[in-house]
Symmetry: C2
DNA sequence: TGCGTGTCACACAGATCGGTGTGCCGCATC
DNA sequence: GATGCGGCACACCGATCTGTGTGACACGCA
């Protein structure tokens, strides 16, 4: 009764908000425990170390993309519109996976592995859509569109301007069009 | 005689290496002083705070691009080849400005301002080349190519694969070609 | 009623953080 | 030789870091 949500979930909710918003290195475990409304002791009973907590935070950030009934090429472009919306929401702080690799620097083996999984999943998703769209070289084109996506995220982070998402989408549209027939 | 290089330069050389390679938050002032071969006291006599040291580190990272006699469109594409070379060099750790904004998170006002200056300079440089190349919408195209550049950097950081630079270059070539005539 | 469990608050360890104060030493200049 | 000064070593400050140990309290269950 005292626990509305299970311990691990409450911790993860706090860790997600704090790590993403303020940065992994900038947030101590005390802060996470306080935000979760639990004691540091309970946190360490649930996660053996901060590294494990960070890994769980990143793994939790991997979410499957919702299915769509748009035509495949439009689905690819819609990814950029979703990015545009996400940024306008105000709490955008870049890609948590890239951020983790950046922050952890020389201690980012685990983070990099998780980031690679995520990026590769997304690239494959784009590639499968492009195959259905019948374009030439769908694998390479998927990588290039993923680059535009990544670039839009990084640029939004420093420029604080959502418009780059639309510029990226337009560029992606040009690339797709150039690969048609 | 004891000082082969002036104090500030020795500090900056150490700070540049450490901040870029290991991250700003991950490196303390003691480490910088030790790497520079000076005392922490002397460091604080030269830079009033770590924030000032970080700002100097970032400002020093802004370097003018060398002139080139290639045709303008080729110069734009050459930027990606240079990125490819830089990555192959082995000590690539992403864009120091984006990294600083990522690491400093909520305390990144100064870093973001410097990053914006740098990114805008580079975008303008690309735009002026595109104007000379006579393409349509050179300003927008410059932004889109800058996005590819940013995306290549972020992707190299997590994938550790220099090939993305060439994929980005190819995509840029397609965008430029689509904007010709 | 008594026991076990889960969680709490709290204090602590040892390290590191950014930043400062102090006193000494080598050296150049007068 | 005296003086001043730049740089050094070193100790220290309070705060924070990750991680642990402890003892108490509240609860479910027998």
């Amino acid at each position: 009764m005292t626990e509305r949500a299970p311990m691990a979930e409450r911790i993860m909710a706090a860790a997600d908000r704090l790590f993403y918003q303020k940065g992994i290195r900038a947030v101590g475990v005390d802060t996470v425990a306080a935000e979760a409304g639990i004691s540091k002791r309970s946190l360490y009973d649930t996660f053996p170390s901060k590294d494990a907590l960070v890994a769980a935070y990143l793994r939790q950030r991997i979410q499957p993309l919702p299915p769509s009934d748009l035509p495949p090429a439009a689905q690819v472009l819609a990814l950029f519109d979703q990015l545009h919306v996400r940024f306008a929401h105000g709490d955008f702080r870049g890609c948590p996976f890239v951020n983790a690799v950046t922050e952890l620097a020389e201690d980012c083996e685990t983070a990099r592995a998780i980031a690679l999984d995520y990026k590769e999943d997304r690239r494959r998703h784009i590639a499968s859509l492009l195959v259905r769209a019948g374009v030439r070289d769908p694998e390479v084109l998927a990588s290039q569109i993923a680059l535009l996506f990544e670039g839009a995220i990084a640029s939004m982070l420093v420029r604080q301007d959502a418009e780059v998402a639309l510029q990226a989408r337009d560029a992606a549209a040009v690339l797709i069009r150039a690969a048609e027939t």
